[in-house]
């Protein structure tokens, strides 16, 4: 396995999910289930018709059989039991009358003068949706770790779940470092991106900033760690003399698990634990910052949030253009998904700022890959918004 991803997986093994809390389903959009949600009612709630047609006893409705139509059953109706030798007109979703055990679709039936004839026989159970066929009452609706998006909330509504145990939302403090940011000479665009990305991943976000002084950076990290589950620092994480984040963490007695990873961009990435909070040190160059977020910080955040699958799905796509390898380091490349479903790399530079904004994908070129030609297959992560 790619060394970079082994490092990531090693960090994730040390991260657990946050405590849970009880919440009404209404208002739980975007939250992650801490426990499996069990159906309070079956779906479908009663045996019903899968077709517009006629509900019958299968044995009574041989081909050509001619039965009186005793009632009409629409979705939502409460039907009467089916009398012996009778049929019931029934529409999709209509509850199957007691006694009926099959539905003959209307295309195979002819109704005239209150009686219906069938062009062929029907098997027991045909065109019937049984109670609980999708979900049994008390059965599994959604597993722990599921994120409650619109389709998941709809399922919970359908099976009568009104409250769920969800994971507490992670608290993230984003600490932008650097005189150029504090002084306003450089807009804090990384802070804007990270705040939105963390919120999209379900976090509560606070943004702070510190100038290039060791005590200021240390004080900011300490304060952030005291109230955050995850602190994201931006800038000052390399080995230069103004790279104060590593020094501040040392001064605070933090446990630095990783400093420097075999990837480009984003090599200086740092990960530490301080007073139970995780601290992810992201580089200040926009592309490197967002690459390090995608590779490390977002999976950590989603693991804290309890998501069953904290990693983006990996898709194997072909490159639309050659890319140069970087022996010994994995390369992460922002790319667009072109019309032919291929990955077209965008831009070339760690500090490149349009790449992340135009990208559909992040391409991972393995450390061992060397140069890759057009058409080479690569692992890619599809980003949100496509």
């Amino acid at each position: 396995m790619e060394r970079l991803l082994e490092i990531r997986d090693g960090l994730l093994r040390g991260v657990g999910r946050l405590p849970s809390e009880h919440r009404a389903v209404e208002g739980a959009e975007g939250r992650v289930l801490a426990e499996a949600a069990l159906a309070r009612r079956a779906a479908p709630p009663y045996a019903c018709s899968a077709m517009d047609g006629y509900a019958v006893r299968a044995v009574e409705a041989a081909a050509g059989g001619n039965l009186p139509v005793g009632q009409r059953v629409f979705a939502g109706d409460h039907p009467r039991p089916l009398g012996p030798g009778q049929a019931a007109r029934i529409f999709t979703g209509g509850e199957l009358p007691e006694g009926a055990n099959a539905v003959i679709q209307e295309e195979l039936a002819e109704e005239r003068d209150g009686r219906v004839a069938f062009r062929r026989a029907v098997r027991e159970g045909e065109n019937v949706r049984h109670a609980g066929e999708d979900v049994l009452a008390g059965g599994l609706a959604l597993p722990a770790g599921a994120t409650l998006g619109p389709r998941q909330l709809a399922l919970l509504a359908a099976v009568g779940v009104e409250a769920v145990e969800v994971v507490r939302r992670p608290r993230v403090v984003i600490l932008s470092t650097g005189d150029e940011v504090v002084g306003g000479r450089t807009p804090d665009s990384n802070g804007v991106a990270l705040a939105g990305l963390c919120r999209a991943a379900g976090a509560e976000v606070e943004r702070i900033a510190a100038p290039d002084r060791l005590e200021a950076v240390a004080a900011a990290i300490e304060a952030a760690a005291a109230r955050a589950d995850l602190v994201l620092t931006i800038g000052g994480v390399s080995v230069g003399e103004r790279d104060l984040v590593p020094a501040a963490l040392r001064a605070l007695g933090a446990d630095t698990l990783v400093h420097g990873v075999p990837m480009k961009p984003g090599k200086p990435f740092l990960f530490a634990v301080l007073d139970g909070a995780r601290v992810a040190g992201l580089p200040g160059s926009p592309s490197a910052c967002l690459v390090a977020f995608e590779v490390f910080a977002r999976p950590v955040l989603l693991t804290l949030a309890g998501a069953a699958r904290p990693l983006r799905a990996t898709l194997r796509l072909r490159l639309a253009e050659p890319v140069a390898g970087r022996p010994g380091r994995a390369r992460l490349i922002w790319a667009a998904l072109d019309e032919d479903g291929r990955a077209r790399p965008l831009g070339r530079d760690a500090a490149q700022i349009r790449g992340p904004a135009l990208a559909d994908l992040l391409v991972l070129v393995p450390a061992s890959a060397g140069d890759l030609g057009e058409g080479a297959e690569v692992g890619t992560w599809l980003l949100d918004g496509r």
Copy 2:
């Protein structure tokens, strides 16, 4: 091209984007640009170093050259011009001093007693990021049709864009029909799903309901069309006697462009225009409802919203299990993306409600495909939330 997608594309050709409005970037998250956003400042804003190292005049810094270090330049500093025969210590992102035209990385330099020696010569421009290298002042930051997610907002911040022309948010009214929904016998799970999906696509959403009476359905559609850009009706769209949506649209004099499409599930889908509003009639079975939304209604909504790419990206993946074709109709199948990057179909029934909630993908089996074996390649749409 697949007939189903031809029908979709034909409908989309009749849909234009909504009017635009001027908005501060702050607060424009999720909106779509109606016009290209042009950079108010260059990125990078000035020539700067791509490395930690020494800024020099390339001609003065031959290999072994030994120059006095006149200043230290960090990101955010305003450097003094570079004196003749001098070097400046410079850190990543630091502004290049006037007169310097290259940076020698620190690994190739040795500084001692205020002077620096270099192990090799440097080419003009080496390790320098030029002003406007990513984006020129006045140049294109983001094109019209871009959706403003976190990475896009970061780019706008980086290039000084504070206000943008965005498309007005589409107004959607979701009309749930049927006595079983109005009477509360069946939870309106489709309404829950569609409301969330429409909001995620950028719309303002209102939900209403109407019982199974023609006048009630017609009055609800008319009222909805008067205040919506897109009306989504749920249920009652087939050809049965309680399928009142088509009849109500006829009674209202709507222009029905499509009723019935070659797909399973979702065959009864209807699309009409009434008083300038679009009306998409979705089936009531949960799976069919959400398939019809994905195939037709979501692209219509994103076209109204001005998105450059209203369609989900199509990925070609292999099937993890065989699927039965349905000659003459495209099949849409909810599927999970498995560990090997293959599409694993979920469930089998149009009314199946767990499928949409557990799916990562929607698989399109072409009408012409016949049965497909394990490993067959199919077009898929990756859904949100993966």
